[in-house]
């Protein structure tokens, strides 16, 4: 309500200024014809001044209902919007909110993944439904995280979890990893060249077609579990890949 009165106060102030200047102008102008012209111009200026804040107020008030109309799909006549164009600010705002949500989620995912011992750096991408006509608009579909494991023997060279700089996103080249049932032979765990086996047949992973070590496998599982716990989303929605 205060905003409304402030707008009116501003409008009144502007109108009084214009009227005062118009009165002065009328005194200064030499001919009657020029005065008549000045009156028309001042009149137009007054109209624009009055309409400006009214337009602003209408926008401000339509903004909130516009969201609910969009959410509930309320339309005066089938297929006809109650107020064409009224939803534009709402759409803009939804997109902005979505972008903030995505950014926040990705930052948290990177921080969580980097906090897992053995992960040197991470990059996260949130796959979200951006179809504004869809009922699942804004829903998280999948979270893709690419991690770079700490090299063996490297203990103090990378960014330690929890240390300053940990959790910062580092540009990594995403690597396509085939996720699917893998037939594997039991192999000695100490031999990193031998493909790892979980026994479930659902989580065999590798980098660029190469096999990965059981240690790496455990790291991937740990990252996935940490992300699921930390973000409160099911593990099935999280895809963890190992980058170079």
């Amino acid at each position: 309500m205060t905003g409304f009165i402030d707008t009116l106060a501003e409008l009144t102030r502007t109108l009084v200024t214009i009227v005062f200047l118009a009165a002065v102008l009328e005194l200064l102008l030499p001919s009657a014809a020029a005065r008549r012209l000045a009156r028309v111009v001042v009149g137009l200026l007054l109209i624009l001044t009055v309409l400006g804040p009214i337009g602003k107020m209408i926008h401000a008030q339509v903004w909130v209902p516009a969201l609910s109309w969009r959410e509930q799909g309320v339309q005066a006549v089938s297929g006809v919007s109650l107020w064409p164009g009224a939803a534009a600010p709402a759409q803009r705002d939804r997109r902005h909110a979505l972008s903030l949500f995505r950014q926040s989620l990705e930052e948290r995912a990177v921080r969580l993944a980097a906090s897992v011992p053995g992960v040197e750096a991470a990059q996260a991408t949130a796959i979200i439904d951006v179809d504004e006509e869809s009922t699942s608009f804004g829903t998280l579909l999948r979270l893709e995280v690419v991690i770079r494991p700490r090299q063996e023997g490297e203990t103090g060279g990378g960014i330690a979890p929890g240390a300053a700089g940990a959790g910062q996103a580092i540009a990594l080249e995403p690597v396509q990893i085939q996720v699917g049932p893998v037939e594997m032979e039991p192999s000695p765990r100490e031999n990193p060249a031998v493909p790892s086996a979980t026994g479930t047949g659902t989580s065999g992973t590798g980098t660029l077609g190469e096999t990965i070590s059981p240690g790496l496998m455990a790291l991937v599982t740990e990252v996935r579990r940490t992300l699921a716990t930390g973000l409160g989303i099911p593990e099935s929605m999280i895809v963890v890949r190992v980058g170079p």
Partner: protein
């Protein structure tokens, strides 16, 4: 059940403080005196007395009973209150305010005369523009003077509303406490919060929406009279309409809320006190009947005290708002008088401007009076609530 316990507790307390033999007129008078003493010496009752004292000072000490105790004596017929003296005090206060504003009236009229002479010169001589410029300067001076007075009037109205709210916040707890003492526990529980919310909401809306709208309308009206080049009188009229409509809606909503809340608890309270009487007379052996009669005495006396405090409170409320309203009325009269005096001189625009300011001031006065009326009715409803529950038993 809580109400029954409260009533029984109150009776027990009253009976324990009375020293005369029970059932005698002296005992009843003793109980009555104890209740009156207790209710009238509370901090919030003293707050009302402080307002009364302040009004008395403003009126030059012409308001003889300055304590609630004095008013109690007036209501009991032991003292006389001089209503004529009060009327005279208010009249002299109004005339004093008029005298203060006469200087403003004189300045406005003199400037308007100058403006009128300049307007006539403008018509008589060739140098039209020079005369018109001089007229505009004179008109601007009138505007400055008029708007300064208008600004002080708006401040006065705001101050009056703030005072009213402060006073209502002192009066409501006293009335709520007395409602409880009279057995109207539920009524007090319902009415008191509703009143406090309504009082705040109304005061904020009137002070922050209605008054600014009236000010805007006056400013636009006045600015429109500056010249023929640009006029925004219709917008000013729109603001004025919105202000008056808002005031009307507020009045209706406020009265609706208070009236409904007031009636809601009365039945419950009536039944509660009746139950308390029944319980005391039926289940307390030997002295049960006496105890039941004591309930009547306590509740009746509390209602009497409530009436005295309530009526005194209403009178203070009226006087609290009457003084600023009298000042505002004096200002309205000054502006209207100035407009009436200036019009025959031929300065139509100046007369219109002054009349417009007078109209705006009238609206501000009415808005303040409307707030006072709402508060008055709210306090009256709270005052009458105890009687409604009494009627139910």
């Amino acid at each position: 059940m809580a109400a029954v316990l409260v009533v029984l507790g109150g009776v027990g307390w009253a009976a324990s403080t009375s020293t005369a033999p029970p059932g005698t007129p002296d005992a009843v008078a003793g109980v009555e005196e104890d209740i009156v003493q207790d209710e009238l010496s509370g901090e919030q009752a003293q707050e009302i007395a402080r307002y009364l004292e302040r009004i008395n000072q403003d009126l030059g000490g012409r308001l003889p009973p300055t304590t609630i105790r004095d008013w109690w004596e007036v209501f009991r017929g032991r003292k006389q209150f001089d209503w004529g003296a009060l009327g005279q005090a208010l009249l002299s206060y109004f005339l004093g305010a008029m005298l203060v504003n006469l200087r403003l009236l004189g300045q406005l009229v003199v400037l308007a005369v100058i403006a009128a002479v300049l307007a006539n010169l403008q018509a008589a001589y060739e140098g039209e523009t020079v005369a018109r410029t001089a007229w505009t300067v004179a008109y601007l001076l009138i505007l400055v003077l008029g708007l300064a007075g208008f600004h002080s009037a708006v401040s006065l109205a705001r101050g009056a509303i703030t005072d009213l709210v402060g006073y209502m916040l002192s009066l409501l707890p006293v009335l709520a406490g007395l409602c409880v003492a009279a057995g109207a526990v539920t009524t007090a529980g319902i009415l008191s919060p509703a009143m406090i919310v309504a009082v705040h909401a109304i005061s904020v809306l009137v002070a922050d929406v209605v008054l600014p709208l009236v000010v805007f309308s006056v400013v636009l009206d006045v600015a429109s009279n500056l010249g023929e080049a640009a006029r925004v009188t219709q917008l000013a009229e729109l603001f004025r309409s919105v202000a008056t409509s808002t005031l009307g809606i507020l009045l209706a909503v406020f009265l609706g809320i208070t009236a409904v809340s007031g009636a809601a608890g009365a039945v419950v309270d009536g039944v509660a006190v009746r139950t308390a009487k029944f319980l005391s007379s039926s289940f307390i052996p030997v002295v049960g009947k006496m105890f039941s009669d004591a309930v009547e005495v306590v509740v009746g006396t509390s209602l009497l005290v409530k009436s005295v405090v309530g009526v005194t409170g209403l009178l203070v409320l009226v006087l609290t708002v009457a003084l600023p309203l009298l000042k505002l009325a004096a200002l309205v009269l000054v502006y209207r008088l100035a407009a009436a005096l200036v019009q025959p001189l031929g300065a139509g625009m100046v007369a219109d401007t002054l009349a417009s300011m007078g109209h705006g001031l009238t609206l501000i006065t009415l808005a303040t009076a409307a707030v006072a009326l709402m508060f008055f009715l709210a306090a009256s409803i709270m005052l009458g609530a105890g009687w409604i529950s009494m009627a139910f038993r």
